[in-house]
C-alpha cells in the first residue's frame, strides 16, 4: 500500500513517520523548497533567520513527541519560558502561572485526554460505545466540577479571567493565547472554553521553536523510511469512480497511491485539490461553510541590538505587550470591521536570538512578532501602504515599552493574513486551517462527519493537520491521529 502525504509541516511529517513506521510506502510531498511549511526556519533578511512563521512550539503534542520518540531525534525541551509582560508606563513583570481556580487543575487532565484521543464519532449509525468513556470521564469529574466546567466554557475570557485575576494587564496577558486563531475578542462568549483548551494543550516549550520540531520530525520520518520531497506542490488529487488513485503534481508529474493523507487544510484539500465535479455534494456541503478567517499577522524584524524593554535588566526571550482587556477588545474591533489597526496594537513577541545567537550575525538579534489582531481582508486591501502602516503600528508598540527600538531595526518582513494565504496556500490566511470556536472543535472539526480524518464519500482520502481534531496550535497531533486512523481503517 502506497500512501502520499501532502504537506511538509509538522503534521505531514508526523503522519509520514507514523505510516512509514507501520511499514507503509510513504511519499511526502511538500510544496515549499524547504520542509516544515509554516514551521520552517527561514532567512528573512540577509544573515537573519527566524525559527518559523508559526508562532511557537509550546503546544507540541505529547502525542507526537512520545509516539515518534522525538527525544531520540534531537528534540529537547526547556522547562518553561518566562514571559515578560509590558505595558506603556509601567514596569515590566514576569508572567506567573495563571491563578486559576482549583477546578482548572482537576479538569485539565480530562480535557487533555480528549486532545490525544480520536474525536467522538457522532455520525448516524456510529456506535455509541466510544462515547461512554468520555461521558463517564466527564461525570467522574463530580457534579460540582462538571457544572463549573459547563459554566466556564461558554463564558467570555474577559469575564472568566476577571474572576481570578485582579490586575487587568496580567489578565490580558493570560487571555491572549486563547484568542489566537479564534475570530473573537476577549468579550466573545466561549473564549473561556478556548482558554481552558489552550491550557490543556500547553506543554514544555521546545528548544529551538517550530524549526527544531521540524528537524526532529524530519529525522524521525526519514529514519522510518519515508520519502520526503520538497518543492513538490500537488495540484490535484485524482479519483476514479470516486476512489482516490493518486495525485498530480504542479510539475505535471503523476503519482499513483492507494491513499492520500492531506495536511494542507481540510477545506483546501476538498475544495481545491479534489475536482469540484468529483467532490460528493454532501461532503461539499459540510466543508463549504468551515470558517477560516485569518486574524493574525506576523512581522519579523532584524535588529542591530537586543530589544530590552525599559525596566528589564536583560533581553527577554518572550515578551507580551498588552493593554487592559478593553484595549484588546478595541484591537479586535479593527479585525471585525476589516480595517487597519487604529489603536494600540497588542503584540506577542519572541526574541529567539537570546537562546540561539547563531540565528543572527554577531551581537544582532531577531524579533518574531505575532500581531494577534490583524484582519484577513481590510478595506482597500493589503496594499504596500497598508502593510507599512501595520509595520509602523508594530514599531510604535515596541517603542512604547522600549524607547529606541525603532532605531534598532535593520530589516523586516511583514506577513499579513493575505500574505500568509498567498505564500503558504492557507485558506483565509488562517495558520491553523480553521477558526477555533466551540462549533469547530472535537466532532465538529473541521466539520461534522469529517472529524475522524476519513472522508467517507471519497474512499482513500484522509485529512490531517491542525484543521482537524484536536486542532489548536498543536503541531503533530492532527498528523498522528490521521495516520493512525488510516492504519486502522
Amino acid at each position: 500500500m502506497s500512501v502520499v502525504v501532502i504537506g511538509g509541516g509538522p503534521d505531514g511529517l508526523a503522519a509520514a513517520a507514523v505510516l512509514a513506521s507501520a511499514g507503509k510506502q510513504v511519499t511526502l510531498l511538500a510544496p515549499e523548497d524547504t520542509l516544515g511549511h509554516t514551521s520552517a526556519g527561514l532567512e528573512f533578511h540577509p544573515g537573519f533567520r527566524h525559527t518559523g512563521v508559526f508562532p511557537d512550539a509550546d503546544n507540541l503534542s505529547t502525542l507526537a513527541a512520545s509516539a515518534l520518540r522525538l527525544d531520540t531525534h534531537g528534540l529537547t525541551r526547556v522547562s518553561v519560558h518566562d514571559v515578560t509582560v509590558c505595558t506603556p508606563g509601567r514596569d515590566p513583570l514576569t508572567l506567573g502561572p495563571p491563578r486559576t481556580p482549583a477546578l482548572v487543575g482537576r479538569v485539565l487532565p480530562f480535557l487533555g485526554k480528549q486532545l490525544v484521543a480520536p474525536a467522538p464519532d457522532l455520525t448516524d449509525g456510529a456506535s455509541l460505545v466510544p462515547l461512554i468513556g468520555p461521558a463517564l470521564g466527564f461525570r467522574r469529574l463530580g457534579a460540582a466540577d462538571m457544572m463549573e466546567l459547563l459554566r466556564v466554557a461558554p463564558l467570555s475570557v474577559d469575564d472568566w479571567v476577571a474572576e481570578w485575576e485582579d490586575d487587568p494587564i496580567v489578565a490580558s496577558a493570560h487571555m491572549l493565547p486563547a484568542l489566537r486563531g479564534a475570530w473573537m475578542g476577549p468579550r466573545g462568549p466561549t473564549s473561556a472554553g478556548l482558554l481552558l483548551l489552550d491550557l490543556a494543550r500547553r506543554g514544555a516549550p521546545v528548544r529551538g521553536g517550530p524549526a527544531a520540531v521540524v528537524a526532529a520530525l524530519e529525522a524521525a520520518a526519514t529514519s522510518a523510511g519515508a520519502t520526503l520531497r520538497a518543492g513538490a506542490g500537488v495540484s490535484q488529487v485524482t479519483l476514479d469512480g470516486g476512489r482516490v488513485t493518486g495525485v498530480i503534481l504542479e510539475s505535471g508529474e503523476t503519482l499513483a497511491a492507494t491513499a492520500v493523507l492531506s495536511t494542507v487544510g481540510p477545506r483546501r484539500t476538498l475544495m481545491d485539490l479534489v475536482s469540484a465535479r468529483e467532490l460528493p455534494p454532501r461532503t461539499e456541503g459540510r466543508i463549504r461553510t468551515v470558517r477560516c478567517r485569518g486574524s493574525m499577522a506576523k512581522v519579523h524584524l532584524a535588529l542591530a541590538g537586543p530589544l530590552i524593554p525599559t525596566g528589564c535588566s536583560a533581553a527577554p526571550e518572550r515578551v507580551r505587550i498588552v493593554g487592559p482587556p478593553t484595549a484588546l477588545e478595541r484591537a479586535w474591533d479593527d479585525v471585525k470591521h476589516g480595517r487597519l489597526p487604529q489603536s494600540f496594537m497588542p503584540l506577542d513577541i519572541a526574541q529567539p536570538t537570546v537562546a540561539d545567537p547563531a540565528l543572527a550575525p554577531d551581537g544582532q538579534h531577531v524579533l518574531a512578532v505575532t500581531v494577534p489582531f490583524a484582519a484577513q481582508d481590510i478595506d482597500g486591501g493589503w496594499t504596500e501602504d497598508a502593510r507599512k502602516t501595520l509595520l509602523d503600528g508594530v514599531l510604535s508598540s515596541l517603542e512604547s515599552v522600549a524607547p529606541g527600538a525603532r532605531d534598532l531595526v535593520v530589516g523586516h518582513e511583514v506577513l499579513t493574513p493575505s500574505d500568509l494565504e498567498r505564500t503558504f496556500g492557507l485558506d483565509g490566511g488562517h495558520l491553523i486551517h480553521g477558526e477555533l470556536g466551540l462549533d469547530q472543535l472535537g466532532p465538529l472539526r473541521p466539520a461534522h462527519g469529517l472529524a475522524r480524518h476519513r472522508v467517507d464519500e471519497v474512499p482513500g482520502l484522509w485529512l490531517g493537520g491542525m484543521g482537524c481534531h484536536p486542532g489548536g496550535w498543536t503541531g503533530g497531533a492532527g498528523g498522528v491521529l490521521a495516520a493512525r486512523a488510516l492504519l486502522a481503517g
Binding site: 470516486g242 475536482s275 465535479r277 460528493p280 454532501r282 464519500e457
Partner: protein, 406 residues
C-alpha cells in the same frame, strides 16, 4: 399575486372567476364554472393553457451540459441540440427535489423548467463548471397547445413544417411572424406542443393561436382540466404525488426517484451526479416504494353507493386528497395521492405510492372511499400507466424522413 402576459386575454374569458396561485402568479382553474368543455378540448380538439408560471432557467456556457448532468438524474451530456428530456432532480441523499424538462436549444444553451424555484440550488452546485444560470421565469411567456388537433392548429401559422417535428423535440421558429420556440411536449399525454415567446409578444401569439384554432374547436383551458388529463397520462405532480425533500419535515414523507415511479429517469452509471451514491445504495438494497396506477372497481363503487341508496357521486374534477391504500388483508400499504374519473375511459383512476411488492401489475388492493361521511373501502387493481396513451402522441406524419438535426 402577479399576472402573466396573457392575463388581458385570459381574464376577459374567465367567466367563473375561479383562479388560484401558481408559483406566485394568478392562474385560471376553469374558464367556465365546470371544466368539462376544457377537458374535452384537450381530448377531442385542442386546448390552450397558459403555463407561464413554470419556473424557467436559461443555462449557458461551455460546461452547461456537464453541469446539468451533475444536477439532474438524466445524462444531459447525451442529448442532442433540439431535444427535450424529462428528468428528476435529487439531493445528496437521493431524495427527489423536483422533476422537470431540460431542452437543448444550442450546443451551449439549455432551458430548464421546474415546478419549484431552484436558482440557489443550481448556483450552489455550479462550482467547477463554466456556466451561467439565469432565471427566465419572468422573461418568457409560455403556452401549451394540447390535443388531437394541435398540429393542425399550428401548421398554417408556423414557418416550420410541423409534420416533421418529432416527439420531445424543440426548435426556434416563427409563429405569425413572431420569434418563438416550439417544443413537442406537454402534460396531457396527447399530441401537443408548448410555445415559448418573449413577454411582449404574448398577446399576439395567443391571438394567432386562437384564430388559427377556431375552425378546429380550440378552447382556452385551465388547471382543473389539466389535472384530470395529467392523471390519465400517468404524470406525477410534485407536491401532490411526491413532495420535494426540502419541503418535508421527516424522511418518511420524502421519496427517491424509484419511490416516485421515476426510476426510469435515472442514468446511474456515469460521471458523478447529485444523489448517485444514495440511489446506487438504495438499488442495492431494493427500493421500498413505487408509484403505480390504480383502477378502482367501478361495479364495486356503484354497489357501495347503492347500499346508501345513492347513485355514484364523484367530484367533477380530480382529487388531490390522499387516501389510504390497503392490501387485501386490510393492512395499510400506501396512499393514493391523485385520483379522477376519466370521462373518456369511463374509469375511476388513481396514482398511488405503495410499498413493494404491492406495486406489481395486477395486485389487488383496496382504497378508502368516503360515502355519506362514512369511510369504506373499494377494491382497486394495479395497472400500467399511462392510463390513456393514444398513438398520435408520438407519431410524426413524416417520420422516417430525416428531420433537420439542428
Amino acid at each position: 399575486m402577479r399576472t402573466t402576459p396573457f392575463h388581458p386575454r385570459t381574464s376577459a374569458l374567465c367567466t367563473s372567476f375561479a383562479w388560484k396561485e401558481w408559483a406566485g402568479y394568478a392562474a385560471v382553474c376553469n374558464f367556465d364554472r365546470h371544466s368539462e368543455r376544457e377537458y374535452f378540448a384537450f381530448r377531442g380538439t385542442a386546448g390552450l393553457i397558459d403555463i407561464t408560471p413554470l419556473h424557467k432557467y436559461e443555462v449557458t456556457g461551455p460546461d452547461a451540459a456537464a453541469f446539468l448532468a451533475r444536477v439532474w438524474t438524466r445524462d444531459i451530456t447525451k442529448i442532442g441540440v433540439g431535444r427535450v428530456v424529462y428528468s428528476s432532480m435529487c439531493d445528496a441523499d437521493g431524495w427527489m427535489l423536483d422533476d422537470g424538462t431540460i431542452t437543448r436549444l444550442g450546443p451551449d444553451h439549455f432551458r430548464v423548467t421546474t415546478s419549484e424555484p431552484w436558482l440557489s440550488w443550481f448556483e450552489r452546485h455550479r462550482r467547477g463548471y463554466d456556466v451561467e444560470i439565469r432565471d427566465s421565469q419572468r422573461e418568457l411567456a409560455a403556452l401549451a397547445l394540447q390535443g388531437p388537433r394541435a398540429r393542425a392548429v399550428l401548421k398554417p401559422i408556423v414557418s416550420f413544417d410541423m409534420d416533421r417535428m418529432r416527439f420531445f423535440r424543440c426548435r426556434r421558429t416563427q409563429l405569425a411572424g413572431i420569434d418563438v420556440w416550439v417544443s413537442r411536449t406537454g402534460y396531457t399525454g396527447d399530441l401537443g406542443y408548448e410555445i415559448w415567446c418573449a413577454n411582449d409578444a404574448a398577446p399576439a401569439v395567443w391571438d394567432a393561436l386562437l384564430g388559427s384554432g377556431q375552425p378546429h374547436g380550440i378552447e382556452p383551458c385551465g388547471l382543473d382540466a389539466l389535472d384530470v388529463v395529467r392523471i390519465e397520462a400517468g404524470f406525477v405532480l410534485q407536491g401532490c404525488d411526491y413532495v420535494s425533500a426540502v419541503s418535508c419535515i421527516t424522511d418518511f414523507s420524502k421519496s427517491t426517484p424509484d419511490d416516485a415511479g421515476l426510476g426510469w429517469t435515472v442514468d446511474l452509471d456515469r460521471a458523478p451526479f447529485i444523489g448517485q451514491q444514495a440511489i446506487r445504495a438504495e438499488r442495492a438494497r431494493g427500493p421500498t416504494w413505487d408509484l403505480v396506477g390504480l383502477e378502482l372497481s367501478w361495479p364495486e363503487l356503484e354497489a357501495l353507493y347503492a347500499s346508501y341508496k345513492l347513485p355514484p357521486h364523484l367530484a367533477p374534477c380530480a382529487s388531490r386528497a390522499a387516501v389510504p391504500v390497503y392490501d387485501d388483508t386490510g393492512k395499510q400499504v400506501g396512499q393514493m395521492t391523485s385520483s379522477t374519473w376519466s370521462p373518456v375511459q369511463k374509469r375511476y383512476l388513481g396514482l398511488a405510492q405503495v410499498r413493494r411488492p404491492h406495486h406489481v401489475r395486477g395486485t389487488k388492493l383496496q382504497v378508502e372511499h368516503t360515502v355519506e361521511y362514512e369511510r369504506r373501502k373499494v377494491r382497486a387493481t394495479v395497472v400500467d400507466t399511462p392510463f390513456y396513451d393514444p398513438p398520435r402522441k408520438r407519431l410524426t406524419p413524416t417520420a422516417g424522413k430525416a428531420e433537420a438535426s439542428s
